[in-house]
């Protein structure tokens, strides 16, 4: 049913799965940040190489990543067209009516596509190899310093992981209520805008009430199992850095140095 690859976790045993989620998040952030500055072919070549290496370390098939890119294809084509037709400069390669394609436009468009694809694939590699719970605890761990300024990091992390756990359930529920109301003649595709927005209520109200009921039940279940506050708890999933993280850090460090070097030469 769910064909989206981006954001999905697929269990596996490849190298990248054993890297600490904090490392993976940091590497992804650094990578995306550096890409903003990429403006030469060698820089893109280096970034692509780094991505290729990462993808190999996920142990997943290339076909899977192709499926990940496909749904955002239209978005890519749209941005390409914008870049292609609305960047000025010379030389002009092609001219027809009000449309003209320039060399800087063409290069810009290619850069944008590359940047986009690289970012999407890198984040996919992150989510593909890291269970949502691990992402939640990694965020909690990375945000720990904010506790000093009274940010309830533990609560936020718990909320995040419970929210993640309920997403599939709410999707199933939406499908069910939608079908129940369709059976009673609900139609979201006819009538004026006001009529259409009113037509959503029979869908939204049961979902809201259902979610509220779940929240109350869940609160009871949590309380009965001894939950008092998010702070005074131990953790089942303990994050710990290992050899893989050192390797990943060194690899990324090397990449960063080379990348900056390339930008410098330019």
């Amino acid at each position: 049913m769910n064909n989206l690859v981006i954001g999905q976790f697929i269990p596996g045993k490849a190298w990248l799965y054993r890297v600490d989620p904090r490392t993976k998040i940091l590497v992804t952030v650094v990578y995306v940040f550096l890409l903003i500055f990429a403006n030469t072919w060698p820089a893109y070549a280096l970034a692509t190489l780094f991505l290729a290496l990462t993808l190999v370390l996920t142990g997943q098939s290339l076909e899977l990543y192709w499926r990940g890119i496909k749904p955002v294809m239209w978005l890519i084509i749209f941005t390409v067209c914008l870049q292609l037709f609305f960047t000025g400069g010379t030389p002009v390669l092609f001219h027809w009516q009000f449309l003209k394609i320039t060399l800087p436009g063409l290069i810009n468009a290619l850069y944008v596509v590359l940047r986009f694809v690289l970012i999407v694939l890198m984040s996919t590699a992150l989510t593909l190899t890291t269970p949502p719970t691990a992402i939640a605890s990694a965020i909690e761990s990375l945000l720990k310093p904010l506790k000093a300024i009274k940010v309830p990091v533990a609560e936020l992390a718990l909320m995040l992981s419970i929210a993640l756990r309920f997403v599939p359930l709410l999707m199933l529920e939406t499908d069910k209520v939608m079908k129940a109301q369709k059976s009673r003649g609900m139609s979201l595709s006819t009538g004026s805008l006001i009529k259409r927005s009113k037509a959503v209520l029979p869908l939204l109200i049961p979902l809201f009430i259902g979610a509220l009921q779940r929240a109350l039940d869940l609160a009871n279940a949590m309380e009965v199992r001894g939950f008092e506050s998010a702070d005074n708890r131990t953790r089942y999933r303990v994050l710990s850095f290992s050899k893989q993280d050192l390797v990943a850090a060194l690899g990324t460090g090397l990449f960063v140095l080379l990348f900056i070097g390339l930008l410098w030469i330019n």
Partner: protein, 299 residues
């Protein structure tokens, strides 16, 4: 109104990742009868019934509802009339209630299918009376009612559409014995009113007592279509293989058959079973021992 399912197949997704849920289903839901659909969880029952009112469109084959044909190419606009004719009661239907009063909620269906306010109100009131919701509750919020009452209101919401056929997915789940009994009475009333009824159930006693025809599903295919008196004559192993229970009177009769008892016809109820046992024992010779081995389990 009969519903014909012809060569129906259904899958999610496409290409290599497609997941086949239903495969070459052929069956007729007879007009004015109760058709039970049974099979273990995941056998495709729910997916199958969602084709009966075009909530799902077939990937292959067709579903003929009255005089309307639904195929993979049927346009969204053509589905309304199908849904007006086939009412669908999902499992735990109380989760679909939304309006601020009971009466309004029940009027939702008829109004969507083109009835004006007065007609819808008349239909809604009739349906509420049919499910035994007293008038004093009609202006209440459905969310102030008990679970059992909410279930009735949800049922009324589908009844009020006055469909020719009605599909019930585990309608008695979670109800107490009294609630279950009332629900089964309602199904029989519908049949008496010449409605076509489709019932998904795990409770074989209900199936035996109510159904005219039973469809057994397994792994997305039809494993058997038979009248219950025929179906439950099959041997025990067949039911084990299909992960189905036997109705209690039938299971008990099969036990006794191993000990020399003989049953002329399938016992449909406890009374029926008792009658058939009675005439096979010379009761004058039966003496009651004071204590029976294993009778008192604690000692």
């Amino acid at each position: 109104m009969a519903i014909n399912i012809e060569g129906l197949s259904f899958h999610y997704g496409a290409g290599k990742n497609a997941k086949q849920i239903l495969d070459d289903i052929n069956l007729t839901v007879e007009a004015g009868q109760i058709t039970a659909i049974v099979g273990q969880t995941g056998s495709g029952k729910s997916t199958l019934v969602q084709h009966l009112n075009a909530l799902l469109l077939p990937s292959g084959g067709q579903v003929v509802v009255g005089d309307q044909v639904v195929t993979s190419k049927t346009k969204e606009k053509a589905l309304g009339p199908v849904r007006a004719q086939v009412g669908m009661v999902f499992q735990f239907p109380e989760n679909q209630l939304f309006a601020s009063t009971v009466l309004e909620d029940v009027m939702y269906g008829p109004k969507n299918f083109g009835k004006n306010d007065e007609e819808a109100e008349a239909l809604a009131k009739e349906a509420l009376i049919q499910v035994g919701m007293k008038e004093e509750f009609w202006q209440h919020s459905p969310f102030d009612l008990s679970g059992g009452q909410m279930r009735r209101v949800a049922l009324a919401g589908v009844l009020a559409m006055d469909p020719q056929a009605m599909v019930f997915d585990e309608p008695a789940a979670g109800l107490d014995p009294k609630g279950q009994e009332e629900l089964l009475d309602l199904l029989q009333e519908l049949k008496a009113a010449q409605k076509t009824v489709v019932l998904i159930s795990h409770q074989m006693d209900q199936v035996l007592a109510l159904a005219d025809q039973v469809v057994v599903m397994q792994d997305g295919r039809v494993a058997a279509i038979e009248a219950p008196d025929q179906l439950f004559l099959r041997d025990r192993q067949w039911f084990l293989d299909h992960a189905l229970d036997l109705p209690e009177p039938v299971a008990f009769a099969k036990d006794l058959e191993d000990h020399g008892y003989h049953f002329d016809h399938l016992p449909k109820s406890v009374t029926d079973l008792a009658e058939q046992i009675k005439c096979q024992v010379d009761w004058d010779r039966v003496t009651m021992p004071n204590s029976l081995t294993g009778g008192d389990r604690d000692e």
